[in-house]
Amino acid sequence: MKETTTINISGIIFHIDQDAFVRLKNYFAELKKRFGDTAEGKEIINDIELRIAEILQEKITDKKQVVNEEDIAQIIKIMGAPEDIDADTEEEFAEDPVTENRQRRLFRDPDNTVLGGVCSGMAHYFGIDPVLMRVLTVIVTIFYGVGFLVYIVLWAFIPKAETTAQKLEMKGEPVTANNIKRTIRENYEDVKNSGAYKKARDGVNRGASAAGEIVSFILKAIVIIIGIGMVTGAVVSIVAIVNLAIFHSPTIYFHGEVQGIFFPVLEAFFENELTLVIFLLSSILLALIPILVILFLGVKLVFNFKTNNKVIGLSALGIWLISLAAVISIGISLGSRYTHPSDVEETHVLEEINSETIYINLNEFDRDLQESFGSVYISENKLTGTSYLYNRPDFDVRKSRNDNIEIEITKTARGRSRYDAQEVASAIKYNYTVKDSILYIDPWYETELKNVGRVDDLDITLYLPEGKKIYFEREIYPVVYDIENVKHISDYDMMGKTWIMQPEGLIEYKPDSVKR
């Protein structure tokens, strides 16, 4: 005699003896362990249950009404042990994206290309005509070439649909409201069926799960908004850089200036054209590569695609590091040209001047100056083709320590060393001429273009003995720098007047003051 139980398999009632029941129960427990708690796993187990019910039904006759252990053993033999079922399928499917993910993915379409299949891939993703996508790209290209640039970037980033599975994914189900609803429902069911949810349901309330859904939806929306923001920001930055690099380069080369800085000056600043080009290129890459990374991340957040391009990522990193090294080394090399300041000083006695009053005026200057940057002007010598920089000297008057009228010229410059600085300083051209009682000084001092930025200053100081008089022509005002006088009268008001050196300093000379 054996005890029997009644079981229900897929809606069919069976009588089953105790041993058979235990064995069948274990079989299902093992299947469950294999296929897991997912909706898919449950469906598989349900199908197997159906089939088992079918087979069992065939075994039941009027004479044999109870399912015994022998029947179950046969069924397990027919259906296969859980590990047999698994071995054939699980691994294969795990790697196969067709079955893993039915959502549409962004791929490049190799079967429909003009350049790299980016447009047709995008068109598949959005469910529009590739021609429309291409026209849009061309239109966007008209604006500063953005479309073309983004195209190149996407070409590099988006993987090509190579396998049939990827091509299917590329043309996969469009992202529609129904799809989203189904995905959410499936996710919801997964959550509902998981142990954690059951605990939560028993413990607290159902609201928590709904709130979780909403939070996850909001998070997804935020991710997409961030992605769009990143893409927009990156595109705007790229436009700015491209605009500067491509559309201003002709300005630099043909008109010789950008933002008021002449190209030759820039070139001289970098010692030679090659360094300048390397520096500019490296700077552009240094800025552009992180922007491209942001663009890539943004695109990845917005669209759903896998990347398989480690090479591009690594070479981008490599190029970025090389650019960084180039910018830093050029920067240090250039910076070292300015580390050591030094000056060259020369003093001459103006013996030619015997009169009581010395007149100060400017030498004639016939160069055609163009403003370069700040207070520095540039002029090209048409004969030799070399350019020179011109800057204003600082003219000052002080009391002489002896009875001579002396002129002192101090040239200050910077270099890699003290010696280098003095060489640069010596190369500064500045002249004065004396004619009768008039001292003519150059209105500008001249520097070779290659020494741009390395020349600090040129000071001319006239040492005037006590009792001597000096007259400043109005023309010299631009080179005058804060001439000290007893009554602290401003430079401008000192022009066009005669001054006399007194023990306490310069005071304005008036004929009646002499009589006193």
Binding site: S10, D47, L50, R51, D88, T164
Partner: protein, 102 residues
């Protein structure tokens, strides 16, 4: 080597007529492609979830209702592509095995 072959066979069985799971099992067993029946169910479910198959329930006179499988449009076009790759593969293997015929 069997990777994907079973799926291809299932789709091929369903190309000309819709079928019950047990029909498909019998065909595959005849061809000695599967030993145990259980193997088929995960494949069917996953092909269905991939959108390549669809099914409808049919009442059975003797037992529980049964799933009646059919190809979706996507499944049909996928099968078409598989046929293409399969023929390429056969051709390639033939070339390797009988080089003198070419």
């Amino acid at each position: 080597m069997r990777k994907g072959i079973l799926e291809y066979c299932i789709l091929s069985i369903l190309e000309n007529q819709d079928a019950y799971a047990s029909d498909i099992i019998n065909r595959l067993k005849e061809a000695e492609l599967i030993v145990v029946e259980g193997t088929l169910y995960p494949l069917l479910t996953r092909l269905k979830n991939a959108g390549l198959l669809k099914y409808r329930w049919e009442e059975s006179t003797q037992g529980p209702p049964r799933k009646y499988y059919a190809l979706t449009d996507e499944g049909a076009s996928f099968l078409h592509e598989l046929d293409h790759s399969w023929n390429n593969l056969i051709g390639a293997v033939e070339k390797i095995k009988n080089p003198e015929k070419q």
